[in-house]
Symmetry: C3
Subunit: 375 residues, 3 copies
Amino acid sequence: MDDLSEFVDQVPLLDHHCHFLIDGKVPNRDDRLAQVSTEADKDYPLADTKNRLAYHGFLALAKEFALDANNPLAAMNDPGYATYNHRIFGHFHFKELLIDTGFVPDDPILDLDQTAELVGIPVKAIYRLETHAEDFMLEHDNFAAWWQAFSNDVKQAKAHGFVGFKSIAAYRVGLHLEPVNVIEAAAGFDTWKHSGEKRLTSKPLIDYMLYHVAPFIIAQDMPLQFHVGYGDADTDMYLGNPLLMRDYLKAFTKKGLKVVLLHCYPYHREAGYLASVFPNLYFDISLLDNLGPSGASRVFNEAVELAPYTRILFASDASTYPEMYGLAARQFKQALVAHFNQLPFVDLAQKKAWINAICWQTSAKLYHQERELRV
Amino acid sequence: MDDLSEFVDQVPLLDHHCHFLIDGKVPNRDDRLAQVSTEADKDYPLADTKNRLAYHGFLALAKEFALDANNPLAAMNDPGYATYNHRIFGHFHFKELLIDTGFVPDDPILDLDQTAELVGIPVKAIYRLETHAEDFMLEHDNFAAWWQAFSNDVKQAKAHGFVGFKSIAAYRVGLHLEPVNVIEAAAGFDTWKHSGEKRLTSKPLIDYMLYHVAPFIIAQDMPLQFHVGYGDADTDMYLGNPLLMRDYLKAFTKKGLKVVLLHCYPYHREAGYLASVFPNLYFDISLLDNLGPSGASRVFNEAVELAPYTRILFASDASTYPEMYGLAARQFKQALVAHFNQLPFVDLAQKKAWINAICWQTSAKLYHQERELRV
Amino acid sequence: MDDLSEFVDQVPLLDHHCHFLIDGKVPNRDDRLAQVSTEADKDYPLADTKNRLAYHGFLALAKEFALDANNPLAAMNDPGYATYNHRIFGHFHFKELLIDTGFVPDDPILDLDQTAELVGIPVKAIYRLETHAEDFMLEHDNFAAWWQAFSNDVKQAKAHGFVGFKSIAAYRVGLHLEPVNVIEAAAGFDTWKHSGEKRLTSKPLIDYMLYHVAPFIIAQDMPLQFHVGYGDADTDMYLGNPLLMRDYLKAFTKKGLKVVLLHCYPYHREAGYLASVFPNLYFDISLLDNLGPSGASRVFNEAVELAPYTRILFASDASTYPEMYGLAARQFKQALVAHFNQLPFVDLAQKKAWINAICWQTSAKLYHQERELRV
């Protein structure tokens, strides 16, 4: 059987779900690398985090691409840090990053143009619904005014340069999304507004928002990402099962809403099943590929037992340092080689077509980035 | 270690759960093959379905056994179509098909004798409870009359030539079966009767039916199959977890009800656990073996982590064309070879005994088909 | 890559969760071995149990270490039985057993000193909360008196020689533990007391107990084990998902409660995730390693996809005969070799450190058994 290693090494990557990088001059690079190698909070013992494989996978990359081989964890100044980033993003053939700007690490590089220069490839933004909803709440006193302002902003997202949407409903209320009426939603707004908390946690309001922004998202032909499954201790993973989204998927995917389930672990088989029976449904195994590196190949194999190869996407969910993006790419590409090298029934051309679809082509179409991905 | 490939190649198969084949003269064989290679509805893009491995596994079989090597997807006329079927069913040593007649594809061959002639082996029928319950509803105006007619029919199923029962409660109300009283059941019937819908979706009525037909099924010493887990977008797979059946299993398996869990994926480990602690509980990984062919070996391995080898059965859940039955056989037999070749602690004779049990012997006893399976 | 086989063969084992052995003179050793090779009740057919791999794994050990090679399943008299035990526990380098005394097989050896002599290594006791709560119920007429007596006993557990606690809430009410007030708890006690049943099954009372003993357990710096997932037909495994424990874990692990999730299968990925985000959370794959021997390596690999290597522990959950402890050790050690031999990014010293942590070091610290484990 032909070996696909060389082909996969060279295949371009569109990372359709990731976050901000941080300043290279931050002094405690070792601890920051360790911290971002886990979903645990800061009060979780760093010693245990350093006994996870992800941290060691980051270290291996840091050594491999180090500017100073004797000091791979040193802080980096500006031209050097860009060189370092170019090495890693270039080595794995990253071609574009789509950044969910709703999560902000400490010491972030917030400017997308600056990020693009740093990593050497185009960078676009994803519109996180809850974050913007929260910002508009601060400016409006009642549900109607808030909804008007927020939904107007959603309708103009494409015009404002965003390439997709994301919801973190799983973190706030779980994935059992239900239709609610405007009275319940307005009551949810009032409770929230008077709570003094910026954080949106009202189930009726989040349900209302997701059911009512769907048409505006369809109208702009943009995809809507959902956090699913694996996340930090703040998510109730019991409620993060994508099978709970069935009513929502039935309501909107046939109408043209393109839904992308992010991460999915340990519900990646469930996600693959959903992708095999719902139109317009996509998913990835991001975050597991880099934070659970010993499982990337196994999880990929399980994820595609039922899913079409045109429905699973590469993503890293990485932030902070290029090592996190790089480890996702390394483990994911290795999983691709292992899977496709032993796949029966299809020829080499078909395998290559599917690998292209997974790594960049499907995302390029979905997020309308064909121009940026001319490869 | 001895290689079991040759033994497994020759081992007979009793397919205890499958459906009707269709007419060979249907012109659009390629699209029909693609359509049946997925659980997706007809409005799901066929292009995505063709990017699943199952379709390519069907194509590989079509080419391998083609009457006309230059045109493997051509429609087939009568003597040729039988030859083609005989080639595939014969190659994999199918010895009998048990057909759930409750699902009817377009252009079906409904006559079981005709089917037996077409495939070259005996064919028997499984009694799908909900379908018959629905037919009797059309003929009766009240719960008592309906139940009398329906339960009489259930009691005579064996006399009418059926070899087992099946419930698709998972498709209608999920698997959390509960005892209900006759008043709730009768109310459920009235609502159903007046709804104008033939489709039975009343939870109290389905619960009542399953609790009250159990003794009649025990009396006839016939097994009761349940759809579990993987199915089309019409099933709420969240409610298809067989662990939800615990109360029902506790109520009846010790009394002698033989229950067979069908498909089970992605709950096949849960099914294997149930088979390891409940008497009279059997299961299979049908539908995954052909529609998720890259996972068949992995899923089989997981399914038998806890289950006795005398509780898991071969089945295809196939319909329409012989390729679907054949791919189930190919992937399942490959999974058997991989599993048993590397199994420690037991000798070759024990491995062969277990393979026989899985492929035909346990089903032959369960469905009283020893005579048909004289091998 | 270096082969770790020899290192793992020699690595010491602290079995932090197991049960009583039985008398060697019991005549029906074959049936007792078969019976304990499954979680099924006694009315489950022994013939099916003998068609599970676990039984054959026990037989293989019985033959390998037999006193009388021609009669490996013979009853054994006293000095011989100790020799036999020493052979097996010694071969796998067991160094200590922590016995949950709440489960008592027929014909048990209840004396821990006698057990220590029999197996040739130290033996300590785990305090099963529900068992003791039940004993105190018999002696007290009202909630206040019962709680005073029981909680005093809990507070003195360390002084009484216990090295840890265990809860079987999963067997009684499931793992969705919730805070309850004292009025509900007292009402639960009254209902229980007047029921005439010794068995504690009141959800409010078990919830109350677990929320209110936590501080006493923290004060003694002892771990609290929970039965999770896989067990006999008496457990509702649907409610045995450790993700349901999130509120309890959030309430206590940051305050210093050391929680150990036992067994976990088929929720071992969920357990590994919890260990990766909650401080003070440990887990094992006991019971699967010996009762599902063909899956031990796969399940271990899945369990450590996210978990720190300093959070997963060896355990057997064995009882009755040394074969059950031995098979857990054999399968677990084989899983370690397979996993660490192919682990990228880390050197041999790091791998050995992690294997030591898993097999004995983390448990030695957790249960304060460093002195007994001087290795």
